[in-house]
């Protein structure tokens, strides 16, 4: 190593504590900003360059750098995102937070010929903006932004291609290029899928809001949206009025597998059950709660009674009621109990008692 490079290396040693301080500040600011913008990333890698690595670089091309400030990657941060769109979002955020040296920043994604594929990443050379300690504002640092798939490709390509002492045959280089093209396609498909899903959610929300429920398929997403319209409040309040009861919030997601097991396919099917069976569900609830002085119920009471009435009217009998009880017992169970209802089990006797109650009600007489 020549004297110039030795001098740069010495300057680096003296600067290292400042680089460590800068690293902590940049990292904290980045993490806070990403959280605020709700941008999920898979990782933020960061490092202050190792002396050994810098020495190697200076040996190879030390004369290229006039001063230590010309080496822009002494502090390196790498933000790895899930989606390719998020690379641009992170870049916009970084441009807002730091002073960018545009002449030295590079968007590797745009360097490829239209018909070639390879390293895709966005590299910004940054400095802290005014307001931070002056000795830190002077130091450039590099922020690289790429997707997880781009990261995998470039890591493998780097390890296999550049660190090897052996010349890589052309066919393998081409194979890496093909993989880069494929990963670019996969990245784009993931982004497209995310956008399509967001569109779908917005469309379903709008249909739910406008009451066009028969067009909305019944699934976990649409069920959550439907619940935001409080479709069971009227029935719950009616049941609560029997004993002037307080209504306590309760999760209604566990009922979704029950509704699906009834063969309901759209929110319109659910709404039809609410419209046609609320009076019967009220009568069933009344026959049970009305005989007590209990003055606290939960928001699941209305829907529970609706489900029981629906099951009984469709000939499900005690096993169907037992399965409903088994499914909703214990909070958020992911799916309907697939095993046959154990009528000798804890809920079997209760199901029989509910069916006995219901059998004397008008809707079961008809």
């Amino acid at each position: 190593m020549d004297a110039h490079s030795e001098s740069l290396l010495e300057q680096f040693r003296q600067r290292k504590p400042l680089l460590v301080e800068l690293e902590a500040i940049v990292l904290q600011r980045l993490q806070e900003a990403l959280n605020q913008q709700h941008i999920q990333v898979t990782a933020i890698d960061h490092r202050v360059k190792e002396e050994r690595s810098l020495a190697g670089k200076l040996e190879r091309k030390g004369s290229k750098y006039k001063s230590i400030d010309d080496i822009t990657d002494l502090l390196g941060i790498r933000v790895i995102t899930f989606y390719t769109d998020d690379v641009d979002k992170v870049a916009a955020l970084v441009a807002q937070m730091f002073d960018i040296d545009w002449s030295n920043s590079v968007d590797k994604r745009k360097l490829h010929e239209l018909d070639s594929f390879g390293y895709n990443s966005l590299h910004y050379i940054c400095r802290l903006p005014e307001g931070a300690p002056a000795e830190l504002c002077r130091i450039p640092f590099e922020i690289q932004m790429r997707t997880a798939l781009q990261h995998v490709w470039s890591t493998l390509n780097h390890d296999t291609g550049y660190k090897s002492d052996v010349q890589i045959p052309r066919e393998y280089v081409r194979q890496f290029g093909r993989l880069a093209g494929m990963l670019e396609l996969v990245d784009n498909e993931f982004s497209r899928l995310r956008t399509s899903l967001a569109d779908y959610r917005r469309r379903m929300q709008s249909l739910v809001a406008s009451g066009q429920l028969e067009e909305v398929p019944l699934n976990a997403d649409t069920w959550d949206n439907y619940l935001l319209t409080h479709p069971f409040d009227r029935l719950n309040n009616r049941i609560a009025a029997v004993n002037q009861a307080e209504v306590f919030p309760a999760p209604l997601q566990p009922f979704l597998p029950i509704l699906i097991s009834f063969g309901m396919q759209t929110l319109g099917d659910v709404q039809q059950m609410v419209d046609s069976q609320s009076d019967n569900a009220y009568l069933l609830a009344l026959s049970r709660v009305g005989l007590t002085d209990i003055d606290i119920i939960t928001e699941s009471v209305g829907l529970m009674n609706l489900c029981i009435v629906h099951a009984l009217q469709n000939g499900g009998g005690t096993p169907a009621v037992c399965r409903i009880l088994d499914t909703v017992s214990g909070g958020a169970q992911p799916e309907l109990q697939r095993t046959a209802c154990d009528r000798s089990g804890a809920n079997g006797a209760l199901a029989e008692s509910i069916v006995r109650h219901a059998s004397s009600l008008p809707f079961m007489q008809r």
């Binding site: 309760a250 209990i294 529970m304 009880l325 909703v328 017992s329 214990g330 006797a349 209760l350």
Partner: protein, 100 residues
Amino acid sequence: MNTTIKEQNGELVAFFEGRLDTAAAPQAEKDIQPLLASNGKNIVLDCNALEYISSSGLRLFLTVLKSAKAKGGHVFITGMNNDIRNVFSMTGFTNLFEFR
């Protein structure tokens, strides 16, 4: 009405015995304080010897549930007789708790 609290296998177990009605609730509320003070441990409400539960008792169970959930703990109910199970079902409390 008696309420006893024991630690078993790293969980806090509350044994309820008798009738948890409006008259018994104030004392039971004092007795369950260790459950509310617990630090995210799972809690078991053992109802094997519980004969009856009123609205006051349900509210007491809710208090335990809210406190445990806030600390990341779970509340399990075990040993309910048919009458109490019926009360839980008719009030919709069934899908608030986990059962063993």
